[in-house]
Symmetry: D2
Subunit: 138 residues, 4 copies
């Protein structure tokens, strides 16, 4: 962990009161922690825009009874194996599976993996969580 | 304007360096100003979620040659006149109009106005900017 | 207006029922209109990602009593005058102004204008609505 | 799987051409599949807004060397165990962990779990993927 720096911030008093109220509701224990989170969120957004090395999670919902859907999902994951870390598979009910793919690599490639999975017939919903490798937000 | 409060923030040194780099690119002149903006953005988001009094802008793209589109857009705006401040109309080309509706009121009502305009046949695209009346972010 | 094309879509019956329910709530009068809107929204998102010619609206909230804020907002708008179509100014209360800038040009330049306005000391909140020149969604 | 319904859509020819181009790039094999995805995305958004039963994934980035962070993350997950299905833990490097929590339940409770994890000191970044239990988009 990096050593700590300390600096002063000046803020309108009414704005500070509103911020304190908000972070209270969000269960933060102090302002520095809440501000660190706002800053890191900005940095991570920027990393995805700039195409840096990122990490993320792709969620898929599909019906495993649909012909070929499992083999296509698996084939596509193999095509992108250099950006896939691991996959978690959850049986939501008799038909529906939730699969969560942990991915890491160039933002553009992780995005393309999400697109390729979304386009598979039988995959009903896809999301892409844009997170970080952690290094750039230490 | 409210009087200023001053407080200290502690942050990992590497994180602070990255933040300074980012806000340099974003043309901020100092950290307090950048942090104030992050805080206000959070507060405004919360106001929309909680259904407070908000302000915002709705953009519409439509082809004024489409039968009845202008009269329907106008009728709908009259139905919601208590949340509409004013409307700016721009002729993008021979066919396409950009109309920007400045609105103010309960978040839920401004949202409903945007939905009603979006649903009009001939309105091709609608956006809703979620801004603030200014009072809650002083 | 372009001539109409007609094509068939096949959809799970339960999904179609849910879609009909949703667009009923959203006040659409028919499925084609609702689907057109979903398609155009996708196209406009893509235009912004690809840096095409776009149109949009930037909202600003500021306190006109803050020293120099008006002159800085005006100076910045002049620096970007080739992407600004017009500006609408609304007096929200004794202190707060809502200014809505209608802009048109390369996506990247409109984005930079929004960033430059956001960074001005005294500008409290900024949003950027990503809309279209209309031509690409006819 | 539900039986299929078939219906006709009418669309401006130029708009249809642009849509075909877009879905080609997105690797879709036919229009119905692309439209189904747009429709399902709308339905899932609505489910989260309305507070229905949903599924989702929460990603966390944290430094496991930070004092107490692991025990706090674990304690919080136990407090919300009725909405947590399972957790996947990935060692990104010597310091950084990526943890992905698969969750299912009322939208509001899953959101509160994400907030509680975000507020833990030492958790550097959090995202919440809004997905579906699959049932409502069949």
């Amino acid at each position: 962990m990096s050593e700590l720096a300390r600096f002063g911030v000046s803020l309108e008093k009414t704005l500070l009161d509103r911020f304190d109220q908000l972070i209270g509701k969000q269960q933060y224990t102090n302002r520095s922690e809440a501000l660190r989170d706002l800053i890191r969120r900005e940095l991570v957004q920027r990393q995805w825009q700039e195409g840096s090395d990122v990490a993320g999670a792709i969620t898929l919902i599909y019906d495993h009874h649909r012909r070929d859907v499992i083999s296509r999902v698996t084939d596509t994951q193999h095509d992108f194996q250099e950006v896939i870390i691991s996959t978690q598979h959850i049986h939501l009910d008799h038909h529906n599976c939730l699969e969560i793919v942990a991915a890491r690599g160039k933002a553009e490639k992780v995005q393309r993996l999400a697109d390729a999975l979304r386009a598979i017939k039988g995959v009903r919903h896809t999301t892409l969580s844009m997170s970080s490798t952690g290094r750039e937000i230490e």
